[in-house]
Amino acid sequence: MSGFPTLLRKEVLRFWRVGVQTVAAPVASALLYLVVFAHALSGRLEPFPGVTYLQFLVPGLAMMAMLQNAFANSSSSLIQSKVTGNIVFILLPPLSASDVFLAYLLAAVVRAVAVGLGVFVATLWIVPVPVLHPLWALAFALVGSGLLGVLGILAGIWAEKFDQIAAFQNFLVMPLTFLAGVFYSVHTLPPAWQAISRLNPFFYAVDGFRYGFFGRSDVGPGTSLAFASAALAALSWLALHLLARGWKLRH
């Protein structure tokens, strides 16, 4: 029998034991964004007809929290194990590259979905949003958090110290999530910025996820899912390849 189920369970327990930090805190900060933006931008036009700006914000904030926490989960678990040296306990058993890859990926997705659900449920008290296409929403939740979970695995394999993970987070993950159309519809941007936004794979995750709630989006959900899934597949292939070679893990 494969060691994959145990590694997945361990990875899920790892963040669940410190759930206040890993799930409750991101939910709280998403709510803080919502309250502050609601106050500052209350007079703004409806981004889509019949959808208030505050409602528009909810799926975006939920997806942003999911993306950031999926990345945080796999990257911090790997870098902690590498820095403290307990990664040997994963490297010594007969776990294959795909066992390790899937366990870290799925644990990241579980944490992201827990955070996303938390944001959604908490905002129900402030501003209820419809869920017109729950399956689309679910598909984008899984693909979006999977994409960042894999990016976290790559960062964790590559990095040798915590600083490098922080740099990855601050200079890549944060800007790309902030510029993914969380706070605005990209249709309101000048054409050049619209074009640039479409190069950002996180944009498709946010935009498609929003379609699941309002049935409206900047890009068709099929196109978005295709782009996001292609990015996920490419990064997954890279991560599996590096794990199988033992790059930066087996010297």
Binding site: L13, R17, T84, G85, L92, P93, P94, H251
Partner: protein, 308 residues
């Protein structure tokens, strides 16, 4: 690889940048052996163990555990191997028991509770089973690492300096358990700087230096070839007579070591000392010891003219 050995290493080379960690190492450990791997720091012992465990990838050569190539047939090789790493490492999120259950699960073992209980018992960890890893002392963490290495009942057990900085009680607990496992058929490979331990436990010994094996033989034959019974004397006055000084050596603590063949030889030596008017401050007869073998073999490497 042909006939099955517990461990087989064939012409393994490994460089880390400019450092040549392994320069063509070959050796075989037979099933059921208690094998010692000795050498000064930086000799390549840990690199060799890492290569066996798949933690390091050799530049050339091949390694196998119980006949399974560690690269091609990594699952079977890793199932047959239990390694206690040299550095104390642990996962601070979990308790002792959880740590062992996870490690067991990584090997695909589900209902392994009875063996985990036995490990906790034999390594005197049972009272700490529910304690978080963070709260344990260094010695206790070391015991957990031993238990982690044994959780899948590996055929080959590798202990990389398991008693470094460890108290007497754990040493005794550990060695009695490892001896029992060895008696039950497990192969044991040990690296240690405590040469007395190696002399007592290991039936065969390899010595490494600068990434090469410089000696490989049974402990008994190494002792016979490179060590002898010596008369150790410390002089309070006078000097060692000419007739004894020939084969004698002065050690760092100021004791003369005079090689002796038998008890008659001891008596003759003492008589000569008396005749010379030397005043004895200390006197003892020392049995052959591995430390002497070690020093001589490492010395021989520098000075090829040394007669074996």
């Amino acid at each position: 690889m042909s006939a099955r050995h517990a461990v087989e290493v064939r012409d393994v080379h490994k460089r880390f940048g400019a450092v040549r960690a392994l320069a063509g190492v070959s050796l075989a450990v037979e099933e059921g052996e208690f094998f010692g791997l000795l050498g000064p720091n930086g000799a390549g012992k840990t690199t060799l163990i890492s290569a066996l465990a798949g933690l390091a990838q050799p530049d050339s050569g091949c390694l196998a555990v119980m006949g399974h190539d560690v690269a091609r047939d990594f699952r079977a090789a890793r199932r047959a191997l239990g390694i206690v790493p040299q550095e104390i490492v642990f996962d601070p999120f979990f308790t002792v028991r959880e740590t062992l259950e996870f490690q067991s699960g990584y090997f695909g073992l589900r209902s392994n509770g009875a063996w985990i209980d036995e490990l906790l018992e034999r390594l005197a960890l049972a009272p700490k089973a529910r304690a978080n890893m963070r709260s344990l002392s260094g010695g206790m963490k070391r015991r957990v690492m031993v238990a982690q290495a044994l959780v899948h009942r590996p055929a080959v057990i590798v202990l990389d300096e398991p008693t470094a900085g460890v108290d007497v009680e754990l040493r005794q607990t550990l060695w009695s358990f490892i001896r029992d496992l060895n008696a039950a058929g497990h192969t044991v490979v040990l690296t240690t700087h405590y040469l007395e331990e190696a002399q007592q436990l290991c039936s065969r010994i390899a010595m490494m230096k600068d990434g090469r094996i410089v000696a490989l033989d049974s402990t008994a034959r190494l002792l016979a070839a490179f060590s002898e019974r010596v008369l150790r004397v410390k002089l309070a006055g006078g000097t060692l007579p000419e007739s004894l000084a020939g084969g004698a050596r002065l050690d760092a603590a100021g004791w003369w070591r005079i090689p002796i063949a038998d008890m008659a030889h001891v008596e003759r030596s003492l008589a000569r000392l008396r005749e010379s008017g030397a005043v004895l401050e200390g006197l003892e007869v020392a049995e052959p010891e591995l430390e002497q073998v070690f020093v001589r073999i490492m010395h021989r490497e520098q000075d090829v003219a040394f007669p074996p």
